[in-house]
């Protein structure tokens, strides 16, 4: 293919570097500096996709972020990405792209039949059509909608690219590097402010790249280049291209996505693909410019109809002609600039101006160039299906209501200019109360809520001189306040052509007998007729009209359609536009890739991983790990071909018969010190703590104020004013905050300090009838006999030269000890335990065996203390002191909590003593009862009892107290199981608790 629409010279592309690429399977080439859009247009490709609803042919409408049509599926370095705007995607060697929303191909699209069925697809057609019959939804409607919807296909592969996040602070953030951005950045930087200048495109300069102006005896582009290169040299300035500030959040936090590698064939080694910047700016200067708005006419979505500013940009920046027989349809002077550019490149444009007798410098220039200008003329309709072939034009009456006789003229593109809409998205996101500016017929920022100011065209200032003056001044004023330093820059001499007022005309009436579709929203196929229907059906609020018709709800968020939609609603409603108001602008300004939002927090990096000091020992000894909160804990230690069930049974059995050792480092540990520590514990825990002697541990339960059990654990009195509290692994952080809350806010008079020591201590639980033998070997110089260290006793010991804390506490229900040493000695301790325990048959056990042991003992844990149970439910009512008050006590007398048939923990055994009971199953009286079958309780934890060699579960059961001996059914619809069971005591092993004291 030859680049038949490429100009001989001109543009900012590098013609020395050819770049080849593929689109829809065909090979093309463009130049370095092209976008996919400019390269395709240069190659004469104008059909790029199909529209969302009617599958009408789609071409290019803009040249940048406002593009509603040219959305492609991109293929790059073995990855694919949907929803890429061809107008933004820079060309790189080997780029491949495909059309979206068309099947089987963009040239022949089956869905285009919707275009002929459009009478059936009016506004709100989803709501109307897919309501009946109900059964059709799953089988027919949903698959159809799913297939029809969407702008491409997300990759199902893991994204190999890296995305980074960065936090930054600055004095002044400037969004956009057009004239206002550059001027304000320059004066702020000169005052010494820390400035970030962000430009969405690859080239700096904004409209200076395409306008015929002179600043300080330089062309606009030269001036922009010189300012940018000076800014780049300044240490207090960060200048970023390909960086879009897309969100304005609270307290002047803005988020910017920097596309670092998207323009390259492949991301460089060690580089991220994109970087998301969280910027906290003291002041924000919004210099996002304006977007040209279309004029609405018949078939105005035909490929070849595009914004006049885009046509100019393709010529001036890319050296590309969007057509060779252009028609310029304008209501203001901007269209003339495009026509003049065509003429300069040897192309004969025709201008249709809706105005009667406009006069200005620009118009004068066009006239002098002998450009064919037709005043009071409009385009009635574009003709042609996949590309504009001609236009029906007509003269329009002065009141813009009557069309003259329609004539047809040949053309291959229609460049439309309906004046300019300030890009107020960021200002509006910041909470700025926007106001309507009659003069420019558009909304502009009003009163700021945060520290932001909008400059230049984004503020409705459309002359360069005014823009620069205002921007230099604002940049200077705001930065001066921050830096207390003024280094005023002199204002350059500005030469620009004067323009005259625009015509507030925006929609061409339909000629008699014609029913052309006149589109407002080009991406979502919302036409004038759709809005008319919505209003006829009674929709009034612009927010409702938007949602009903989907106007402005596409990925372009209505950048080119919002205002015309408002114009239409206000015209039909006979209101003024500001009375209709605009819909809310929300971030992101333009789509941001999910990868960038997620950043590095992917897969195992999505949360931190905590490992105990003994982790590498577990790894070496075939531990299979499980996530316990952010901790990695051994679930079981695999021997040979064992599975989880076999291994955990072996480990649990070994604890009951010999001795086992379990890594309990993950338990939360809190050091509590101070003269009021005992009093504090007495208020926090439900049981009595004032008389706990030094060297003794006690089991305690703490509640929330609503009476629900928050956590349990043992706390040991190390010395008079020093306690060591343990919490469950999961609640460690919450318990610390809870304690801090009461100490800092509720009882600040208590002289107590708390600090987390979880990471300071490594812990090993040594459990089993032979555990004392192991302990004797570990601590040969310490008296660990039943008399020397009784149940719930504590002592310090010398573990072969290492200082250790020994607690005689038990979770397994066996004779057991917990030994703590400083974390750095954890591995040493563990190895020694294994070494000296060998002769007693010691085996390490994981969380699965730990669970088995505690379940058959009836000890409660996280699955019972699940934030829904009170002490009674867990058979912990014996721990409630009636002599003192404590956190949550008052709640325990609430009616439901003292109900006669209150739920309570029970044991559950299957009648066949074989079938395992799935956790989470429900208990019912009659398995054949009609649905909904009344639920009596639920299975909280299940195990295979190694003591009784049959399945055993714990359950929270209604009236559990009186249910022992009852026969019920366990139902698990998820696993399709119905199991007849007997309710037994939750203490299935050693109900008298003799072993722990042996």
């Amino acid at each position: 293919m030859t680049q038949s629409f490429r100009l001989e010279s001109g543009g900012l592309i590098n013609r020395d570097k050819k770049i080849s690429f593929r689109f829809n399977g065909k090979n093309y080439f463009g130049y370095e500096g092209d976008t996919l859009a400019s390269a395709l247009i240069a190659n004469g490709v104008h059909l790029i996709g199909r529209s969302f609803k009617y599958h009408r042919p789609r071409g290019f409408f803009g040249a940048g972020v406002d593009e509603p049509y040219a959305i492609v599926q991109l293929y790059r370095n073995g990855e694919t990405e949907p929803n890429i705007k061809a107008t933004e995607q820079e060309l790189f060697e080997g780029l491949e792209a495909k059309s979206v929303n068309c099947w089987p191909s963009v040239n022949f699209d089956v869905g285009a039949i919707n275009n002929f069925l459009k009478i059936f697809l009016p506004a709100g057609f989803y709501y109307k059509t897919f309501m009946w019959p109900k059964s059709f939804w799953y089988k027919i409607y949903e698959p159809f909608i799913r297939r029809a919807a969407g702008l491409g296909t997300a990759s199902i592969k893991h994204d190999k690219e890296r995305y980074e996040h960065k936090y930054e602070y600055c004095d002044v953030l400037i969004t956009g590097s057009g004239p206002s951005g550059l001027a304000s950045a320059y004066s702020a930087a000169k005052n010494g402010a820390k400035v970030i200048l962000a430009e969405d495109k690859s080239r700096f300069g904004g409209t200076l790249l395409t306008s015929d102006v002179n600043i300080g005896n330089q062309s606009g582009k030269e001036w922009a280049d010189s300012i940018v290169s000076e800014l780049k040299e300044m240490p207090n300035v960060t200048v970023k291209n390909r960086s879009q500030v897309f969100g304005y959040y609270d307290h002047n936090m803005l988020v910017m996505s920097e596309r670092i590698s998207d323009h390259l064939p492949k991301t460089k080694k060690f580089h991220p693909k994109q970087r998301l910047w969280y910027i906290r700016a003291k002041e924000v200067l919004i210099s996002s410019g304006s977007i040209e708005r279309p004029i609405v006419f018949g078939n105005n979505d035909t490929p070849g109809v595009m914004l006049s500013s885009a046509a100019k940009e393709y010529m001036k920046v890319y050296g590309v002609l969007v057509g060779k027989k252009p028609l310029v349809f304008t209501n203001n002077d901007s269209g003339y600039e495009t026509a003049i550019e065509f003429k300069k490149n040897g192309i004969e444009p025709i201008i249709l101006d809706t105005r009667k007798e406009p006069q200005s410098e620009i118009i004068e220039e066009a006239k002098n160039m002998n450009i064919n200008i037709k005043n009071s003329y409009v385009v009635v309709a574009a003709q042609g299906y996949k590309k504009v072939k001609s236009a029906d034009i007509a003269k329009i009456s002065d009141d813009k209501e009557e069309l003259g006789s329609v004539e047809n003229i040949k053309c291959d593109c229609i460049c439309v200019s309906g004046f300019w809409t300030p890009t107020i998205h960021l200002a509006s996101q910041s909470g700025n109360k926007t106001k309507f500016n009659e003069e420019i017929d558009a909304f502009v920022p009003g009163i700021s809520k945060q520290n932001e100011k909008t400059l230049g065209a984004a503020n409705g200032i459309y002359t360069l001189e005014e823009t620069l003056k205002d921007s230099f001044e604002k940049g200077n004023l705001l930065s001066k306040k921050i830096t207390n330093n003024e280094n005023k820059v002199s204002f350059p001499n500005v030469v620009e052509k004067k323009s005259t007022v625009h015509d507030k005309f925006w929609c061409v009436p339909l000629p008699k007998g014609k029913n052309y579709k006149r589109f407002l929203d080009f991406q979502n196929d919302v036409a004038v007729s759709d809005i008319e229907i919505a209003l006829k059906e009674g929709y009034r609020s612009i927010e409702h009209v938007k949602r009903y018709t989907t106007l402005g709800m596409a990925t372009d968020q209505g950048k080119t359609s919002n205002l015309n939609g408002l114009q239409l609603v206000s015209k039909i409603e006979n209101k003024v536009v500001p009375a209709v108001g605009h819909t809310t602008f929300r971030p992101p300004y333009s789509p941001v890739s999910i990868g960038a939002i997620v950043g590095r927090e992917v897969g195992k990096h999505s949360k931190p991983t905590r490992k105990s000091p003994m982790h590498s020992w577990h790894e070496k000894n075939n531990a299979v790990f499980v996530d316990a909160g952010v901790w990695l804990r051994p679930r079981y230690y695999k021997r040979g071909d064992e599975n989880l069930f076999e291994a955990s049974k072996r480990e649990a059995k070994n604890v009951r018969t010999n001795v086992g050792v379990c890594d309990v480092t993950t338990l939360g540990k809190i050091d509590i010190k101070g003269p009021d520590a005992a009093e504090f514990l007495n208020r926090v825990y439900t049981n009595a703590w004032l008389k706990l002697p030094v060297g003794k541990a006690r089991y305690g339960v703490m509640l929330r104020e609503d009476g629900i059990v928050m956590d349990d654990g043992t706390t040991t009195r190390i010395s008079e004013n020093h306690y060591h509290m343990t919490t469950t692994t999961a609640q460690a952080a919450n318990v610390l905050s809870h304690l801090e809350y009461y100490l800092q806010l509720v009882w600040p008079e208590l002289n107590v300090n708390v600090v987390s020591t979880t990471e300071q201590w490594a812990g090993a639980a040594i459990a089993g009838p032979k555990s004392r033998e192991v302990l004797k070997k570990l601590f040969p110089n310490t008296d660990v006999t039943n008399e020397g260290l009784p149940f719930m006793g504590y002592m310090e010991g010398d573990l072969l030269g290492v200082k250790a804390k020994i607690f005689r506490i038990s979770f397994s229900g066996e004779l057991a000890y917990e030994v703590n040493v400083e974390s750095d000695y954890g591995y040493f301790m563990w190895e020694k335990i294994i070494e000296v325990g060998e002769e007693f048959g010691i085996q390490p056990y994981g969380t699965e065996a730990l669970s088995t042991l505690r379940i058959e003992m009836g000890h409660v844990a996280g699955s019972e203390l699940d934030g829904r149970t009170i002490p009674y439910d867990n058979s912990l009512e014996g721990l409630l002191s009636n002599k003192k008050d404590f956190i949550g006590k008052r709640s325990l007398s609430r009616k439901a909590f003292v109900a006669e048939d209150r739920q309570k923990i029970v044991g559950v055994v299957p009648l066949d003593k074989k079938t395992s009971i799935p956790e989470g199953s429900h208990l019912v009286k009659d398995s054949n009862a009609p649905l909904p079958n009344p639920k009596l309780g639920y299975i909280s934890a299940s195990c295979w009892s190694v003591e009784h060699d049959n399945p055993f579960s714990l359950a929270i059961l209604k009236d559990g107290k009186n249910m022992i001996g009852e026969k019920l059914f366990v139902m698990s619809p998820l696993k399709n199981k119905v199991i007849p069971v007997e309710i037994v005591s939750s203490h299935y092993v050693d109900p008298k608790g003799e072993r722990v004291r042996s």
Binding site: Y249, M253, E705, E740, Y741, Q744, L745, P748, S891
Partner: protein, 89 residues
């Protein structure tokens, strides 16, 4: 993301803090008789105010101090922050 002035550490981003509810609620004194209604009001009943609101935040990933923050619930404007032991005026 809010920018909160910790009275101990200075301006910090919201992600260092955790929210702790209404700061004007006083816990009833321990051991004192209290009606069901008053207790319910303390535990459950909160006004969902629009406008200025004194609330608790904990500087969890910083100094771990609970602080009092006066924030406008509609606009997120923060007017004042106090240490735990400073009285709301």
């Amino acid at each position: 993301m809010l920018h909160i002035k910790c009275p101990h550490c200075g301006m910090r981003s919201q992600n260092e803090f955790s929210y702790g509810g209404d700061a004007t609620i006083k816990r009833p004194e321990l051991g004192k008789e209290i009606s069901d209604q008053d207790w319910d009001n303390f535990v459950y009943n909160r006004k969902s105010l629009r406008g200025k609101h004194w609330e608790l935040w904990q500087h969890l990933s910083g100094c771990r101090q609970w602080i009092k923050v006066q924030r406008d619930t509609a606009t997120h404007e923060i007017f004042k922050t106090l240490k735990a032991n400073e009285e709301i005026s």
